[in-house]
Symmetry: none
Subunit: 415 residues, 2 copies
Amino acid sequence: MNTEIITIGDEILIGQIVDTNSAWIAARLNEAGFTVTRKLSIGDNRGEIVAAVDGALAKSDAVIITGGLGPTKDDITKLTLAEMFGGRMVCDEETYMRNERTLAARGIEYNELNRGQAMVPDTATVLQNLHGTAPGMWFERDGKVVVSLPGVPFEMKELMTAEVLPRLLAYFKQGKVVHRTAITFGLAESVLAATIASWEDALPEYLHLAYLPSPSQIRLRLSAYDIKSDSEETEIDRRFKELERMIPEYFVGYEDDTVASATAALLRKAGATLAVAESCTGGALSASFTAMAGASEYFLGGVVSYSNDVKANVLGVPRDTLELYGAVSEETAMAMADGVRCLCGSDYALSTTGIAGPAGGSEEKPVGTVWIGLATPNGTMARKFVFSRLRPQNIERFAAAAANMLRLELVSALR
Amino acid sequence: MNTEIITIGDEILIGQIVDTNSAWIAARLNEAGFTVTRKLSIGDNRGEIVAAVDGALAKSDAVIITGGLGPTKDDITKLTLAEMFGGRMVCDEETYMRNERTLAARGIEYNELNRGQAMVPDTATVLQNLHGTAPGMWFERDGKVVVSLPGVPFEMKELMTAEVLPRLLAYFKQGKVVHRTAITFGLAESVLAATIASWEDALPEYLHLAYLPSPSQIRLRLSAYDIKSDSEETEIDRRFKELERMIPEYFVGYEDDTVASATAALLRKAGATLAVAESCTGGALSASFTAMAGASEYFLGGVVSYSNDVKANVLGVPRDTLELYGAVSEETAMAMADGVRCLCGSDYALSTTGIAGPAGGSEEKPVGTVWIGLATPNGTMARKFVFSRLRPQNIERFAAAAANMLRLELVSALR
C-alpha cells in the first residue's frame, strides 16, 4: 500500500521553516503499515498543487496533504481540491458553530475570512478539527484517497491520530511493518560494514538493513514489510542479539539510545555517581548528561578547566605535569580526572584535554587530538583519540568518546 | 531561475530523521536569488531516483540532490546518476589520497568499500569534499545542472558554500543579491514588530524585510535583489544603524553573531576574563562560549555545580544560604557567581540556578524559573527570568539570558 505526503507552503520553499510535519506523518504511516514512497513540498500555487496531486494519485493509493488551508488569499489548497474533485461549496455547520464560539471566547470578531473557513466542497467528508478553524477533508476517487490537513503541527497531529489513521486502516486492509534500530559507536561505517559482513549476508531476504551514520554514532535499522505474524519481530530481535554478541564493545543500545543515555543507565544500575573535568569539550560533556531529565540522580557536577591556572588551582593538576608533559597529555588527563573525582566526591570521573581546533595543533599533536582520562574506584587510566579538523564535530566526538570510555568500564564492572 | 531539491534516503521516508538539509539548501538558494519550486524526498531506489531527476530537469534549471553516497550497498545515488549521465567510472586521485590519509590517521584500514568512495563517473566535475569520504559531483546537460552532495549536514554545507553556490552564480550569470541580517535578543516577535513599526514603514520599496525567529533570538533580514550598484548595500547599512540607535539594548549584532559571540567580542575589547558557575544549564553556558574558536583568550573555565554539595564545597556557597533560601534563589545565584569568580580569578563571573524541568517545579518556583547571577569588579547582582515548560528550550534560553546579562553590563562599562 503506497502513500505520498505533500506539504504546501511558500515558507517551506524559501527555507524559512523546517518541514517537521512530513517526518511525523511518515513515521505514523509506517507504523500503521503503509509505505511512504515520496514526500513532496510545493508552494501555494494552483498549477503545482494540481500536478502534485495528480502525479501522486497516478502512483500511490493514498495522498496526505498538509498546509494551505488558512483564511488568507495565499492559501488556495481547498479551492484547488474542490476544482479537482468537483462538487459545490457548502457550509459545514459543525465547523461554523465551533469557530464562532472559539473566536468569541478570544474576543475576535467573526468576519468574512473566518466564515470562509467553514466552507467545504460537498464531495469531501469533513474531518472535524477540534483545535483550529480549518477542517480536514477526505476525498475518494477510484478506490484511492486524498486527505487534506491543516499545516499547524498540533492540529495536524490530532486529526491524523483521531481521524485519518483509523479511516485509512478501515479503508485499506494490509499487513504490518516493523522497524528496529540498533545503536553502535566506535567503528567507522566502512569498518563496521566489513566487521559484520557475515552477519549481514546471513540475514533472511525479508529483513532489510540500513546504515544511518552521524558524527557521534552509527545506527543500524532492520525492517520487515507486509508481515502477517509476530515471527518477523522475534527474528529481528534474535538477529540484533546476535549482533550484540558479535561486537559487544561497539553495541550501545536500541532506538533512541545514545552513548550518554546508555552510560547514564549503567550509572543508575550501578548506583554510582559521576563528575567531569573538561578542557577542550568546554562544558559539552557535562551538557550531554544534564540535557537528560533526572541527571541529578548520578551527575554531581564538574569543572571546566579551560585555562592551565584552573587545571592547577581548582583541580590540583601539578604544575610540573603541565610543564613537563603539556596540557594535552596522558599525565594531565589522569590528574584532571583524579582531581575532579576527589573535589566532587564521585565514584567515577571523566576528563578531556585536547585540541578542538581550528588553531593550536602541531606536528606531534594535530588538531583533533584528545586525551580522555577515567578515574574509577579501582584506579585511573587515559586513552588518546585523533578525530577530524572541524571544531564542532571534534567537540561532539570528544564528548561521545569520553562517555563511551566510562560506558565500557561500567559494562565490565557490572558483568 | 528555477531550482529543485531532491533528498534521498529511506530514513527520511520512514520518518526516522527530519530532513533539515533541504530547508538549509532552500534558504541558501533563495539568498543567492534562485527560486526553489519543489522539494522532493525519495527512497534509495533506482527507479525513483531516475524519475525524480528526469522530472526535475523537465521543469527546472538546476537540481540539487543530497544523500545516498555512503560506501554501503543501500547507497545507490552515484551509480544511478552515472547510468543517467553516461561515462565510465574512474578513480578521483585527490579523493582517493585524502581518504587514505584520513583513515590512516584514525587507524582505520583502507578497504574495498572505502576505495569505492573515490570512484566517480568521468562525465562529472568532482567537488572535493574536504570533510568526508564521499565527493560531490556536478553534471551538466543542455544548459542545465545536476549536483549530487553527501547527506551528512556539515559535509553538504561546506560543499554548498565553497563549491556549489559560486559555480551556480557563475554558470547562470545571476544579477547580484544582497542580504544583511541584524540579530536582536530580549523582545518577543510581536513586541519587536510593534516597537520598530515606524522604522519598518519608512523602508524604501526595494528593500525586503523578513523576521526570522528562533528560541534564543530574532533575526531581521533586509534583502535587495538583482541590483546594479553598491548603493543598495550602503542603504541597508544606514537603515540597520538607525535600528541600532532605536533599540540599543536589544540589538546584539549582525549576520552570524549570537548573544554569546557578541559578549565574547566585548570581553576581548575590555581585555577582561570570564568564569561561569552553572547549575540548571549544566555545562551549556560554558559550551556556548567554548564552541567558538579562540575562547581561551577570555574564558578561564567554570564549575558545573549540579549537586548542592558541589555548590557548597567547591564554590563556597554557605550551607545556610542553600537551606534558608533554596538552591534556586537570588542569594544562591549571587554566592555562586562570587564563588567561581574568586576560585578562577576572573574579572567577571556568571551563574545559573533554576528549574529546567520537566520535574522539580512548584507553585512558587515553576518549571522555567531561573536566577542568573553576575559578579563584576564593582559588585554582584542577580535577576530572575521565567521561560517555558520544555527542558531543551529552557536550557538554551537560560544560557542566552545569562550571556545577555553580561553583554549589557559590558556595553555600559565600555561606554
